[in-house]
Symmetry: C2
Subunit: 493 residues, 2 copies
């Protein structure tokens, strides 16, 4: 498409606009003609595909298999689990008819009133109900357990205020749904998947995350316990990046799914569900990127290296092409993905800015002097520094550099979070601190009333009760009542 | 789940029931609680994943990238292309509301009448309209072309009579949508993707296909020309396994997508679209499988080899386990996927039947005598033959066997098709022959009237006008009018 100058609003000026600008200008996604639905563009989708690949591998390594369940959920299914319907039945896309017909006025088509469904269908906002209705037929005895299914799917939640990747009416995700013979096994599964998500976020996205338990009011509708990973964005707001739910026997009871145990007794089946979505794309962007554009972790970049030739004439270009072919071959044989951009309708400076915007981790530039000296200029996206290095062993140099970048951006994000996590002991101090953003570790009396008060007065929510860290008891910063341990407050996406 | 005896209806008795039985009993898919929507079970989904992987690789090798477009299409978009709306607007899922609320009688939830959409949304039956509405913003000049996008997605077509994989209300597919500066380039793309589909069907699915052009009445709604691959099932019925459409400028005109050419002139953009779906699963099953169950091509089998121990006591089992560990390691290091089933609650005979049903290409069985002799019993699923071979170089033996099976099932299907393809010169002969099933090569005068007559009287349709083969002109079998070449008739799924 026609390229205009792609200036980004600086983060300090307006973080939200910077984000929106960047997602669109770096060709990650855009709003579609359908309210609240996004188009994920090829460059953005390529990152999502890499995320999918790694997650899918991790799910399979932990014994899970993929399956696919229907897009539609009969309206009555949603009502079967009392909490679930409160959480999900409200804002959803409802299919009421199954046919259009030509308009009598000859203009376009209208809904055919004769094609009304007996029972309306809901476009799945999440699939516990349709899946547990299916599992009912799959499970008779302990021998049929565990069931460890995952599905990659689209879901729809009718959000009124949407933002690309972070909150859209339709989004892509995976949802794991497992069935177990014992409570212990289901709890272990929920914990295991939280660990998988945390490992993925930290090792691939280079996003440090807190692992914790949600308070009752932030729990998934229908869960006994919700575990989450929470990340801190550069504007000081928290982002819930993935959740893993221990569902107890709630859905088994709602859909009457019982099994015969080894000892012959009958019991309801224990369940978990867990999911991450294209929201991770938002977390990725808001954790690492800067005023020049995206900064991508090498492990998820669609291509890790871009090579740009700088030439005076065709003859020089053809010599550079030849030299680059050798470099490209060496990089690729080391498992490094490379794009060579020798398009002749754009200047090198334009290309440099473009690949900075796109967050390509390493840029190599080769000009006439490099040809003479057997060198290449290497620029790293995270620090924006450059150096000239020999073409000999370039694949080792770049391989090492990619590792360094992966580690460096994690460390940067980790240090940012450390610098923006504070302990607070009084509610007055809390009110001041919350305006600065970041995670606040504070004591809470464990009641939903106090949680609600803090939320109303400060817009901060309890992000999680951390599974790790300081377990010292204390007194609630608001009520002074006993607190089992500090919890994490923040304003959140 | 509890395993009952899994008897299949023999093909000769009732092919349609055999198919339905097999899909369910081999754990490929089952009907869901939502009318017309299927659940794709883990074993079936694993085959679909392998198909996706190969196709995705082939798409990327031919320069395509993946993207994602919205699930919903505004109703008015469907009407913009006159033929398209006739083909797709009629049987579709219509979203009219975006909220439910608690029922006043306290029982469950009802559609909130206050949450009616201004314009209804259609769950995509195919995405040309929403995609060309998007491409409008992506294309200004020839520099923005070509666009070579594919998406993996679910689509919904409200079918009244459904059959697992073959015709379901919701199905999974990929749809490629490309935009080009010239007619020639778009036509070449449509041809290229037909070749990709044919290569995939023959080399991976082991399903021989005819490549051809559709007659006007069988064309995709909105296409200038539809190319298709057609396969012949074991009951003598044809199955359209994939289509590639040259769309001309129809969608560019409907959505006003113009570009500035190199010479400065303005023109509408040229388009193609192409797709294959989970219907391929049906083609796979109906081409190769037999009365004992599935027969899977080794290249798409979730696991290529299953190993079953036959033992008298625990001590013998532990020696077999040890021996099998070595075999498994050797097979895996040769890139062969293996499952070792030493579960102790099922007898070997039960396992043999189960893996036959599941179509695992090669079964190894090891008993006490094998241990003594350093041998293993090898059974191939396609021929149901067995032999005892040495464990030395077992990986080479099995590797070769898998290649042989892949080739053999293709050859078997190819020979079946050859034996069931006949030339017919009179309409009387045609009426007799069509009852026997198979492909009939006959002359046709090229008119929709004759095509319609044949369809009404014999239920046979023109599957395609082949791109290859005998090009001799002749006289229409029905009207005696001139015919450019023989076309392929068959009854079809």
């Amino acid at each position: 498409m026609a390229k205009e100058i792609k200036e980004l609003t600086p983060r300090a000026e307006n973080f939200s606009r910077w984000y929106q600008d960047l997602v669109v200008k770096a060709d990650l996604a855009e709003n579609s003609a359908v309210r609240g639905c996004m188009v994920i563009k090829p460059y953005g989708y390529a990152i999502w595909e890499k995320m999918q690949q790694e997650l899918d591998r991790m799910f399979k390594e932990t014994g899970h298999v993929n399956a696919y369940f229907p897009l539609f959920i009969p309206k009555s299914f949603l009502s079967k689990e009392a909490d679930h319907v409160e959480g999900f039945a409200k804002e959803c896309a409802v299919v009421t008819h199954y046919r259009l017909k030509n308009s009598p006025d000859g203009k376009g088509v209208i809904v055919d009133p004769d094609a009304k469904l007996e029972e309306e269908l809901i476009v799945r906002p999440t699939s516990e109900t349709i899946i547990w209705n299916t599992y009912k037929n799959w499970i008779q005895s302990y021998r049929d357990l565990p069931i460890l299914c995952n599905q990659w799917a689209n879901v729809v939640r009718w959000e009124m205020r949407t933002r690309l990747f972070l909150r859209t009416a339709e989004f892509l995700w995976q949802e794991g749904h497992t069935a177990h013979a014992t409570r212990e096994e289901a709890e272990a599964e929920a914990h295991q998947m939280l660990e998988v998500y945390a490992a993925f976020a930290e090792n691939f996205m280079a996003v440090p995350v807190l692992k914790g338990v949600k308070s009752a009011s932030e729990r998934f509708a229908g869960a006994v316990e919700t575990f989450a990973i929470e990340a801190l964005m550069q504007d000081g707001k928290a982002l819930q990046a993935g959740t893993s739910h221990f569902l107890g026997q709630n859905f088994a009871k709602a859909f009457d799914v019982m099994f015969t145990a080894k000892n012959g007794t009958q019991d309801y089946v224990w369940a978990t569900s867990w999911g991450v979505s294209t929201r991770l794309m938002g977390a990725l962007v808001m954790t690492h990127s800067d005023d020049n554009g995206l900064v991508l972790p090498p492990k998820l970049a669609p291509y890790q290296v871009v090579i740009v030739p700088i030439y005076k004439n065709e003859e020089q270009l053809s010599r550079i092409n030849e030299k680059v072919a050798g470099i490209t071959a060496k990089l690729r044989s080391s498992g490094i993905s490379v794009k060579y951009d020798h398009s002749d309708n754009k200047k090198p400076g334009w290309k440099f800015a473009e690949y900075e915007l796109k967050g390509v981790p390493v840029r190599l530039a080769m000009g006439g002097r490099d040809l003479e000296n057997n060198t290449v200029e290497v620029a790293r996206r995270d620090t924006l520094t450059k150096e000239t290095v020999s073409c000999d062993n370039i694949e080792q140099y770049v391989g090492q550099l990619l590792d360094d970048i992966q580690k460096n951006i994690f460390k940067k994000a980790f240090d940012y979070r450390a610098a923006n996590t504070v302990k607070v002991d009084s509610y007055d101090e809390f009110k001041v601190q919350i305006e600065k953003g970041g995670f606040i570790l504070a004591h809470w009396d464990g009641t939903p009333e106090t949680e609600e008060l803090v939320k109303e007065e400060t817009k901060a929510t309890i992000r999680c009760i951390p599974l790790e860290g300081d377990q010292t008891p204390g007194k609630c910063m608001v009520t002074g009542k006993p607190s089992a341990r500090r919890v994490v407050f923040a304003r959140a996406y």
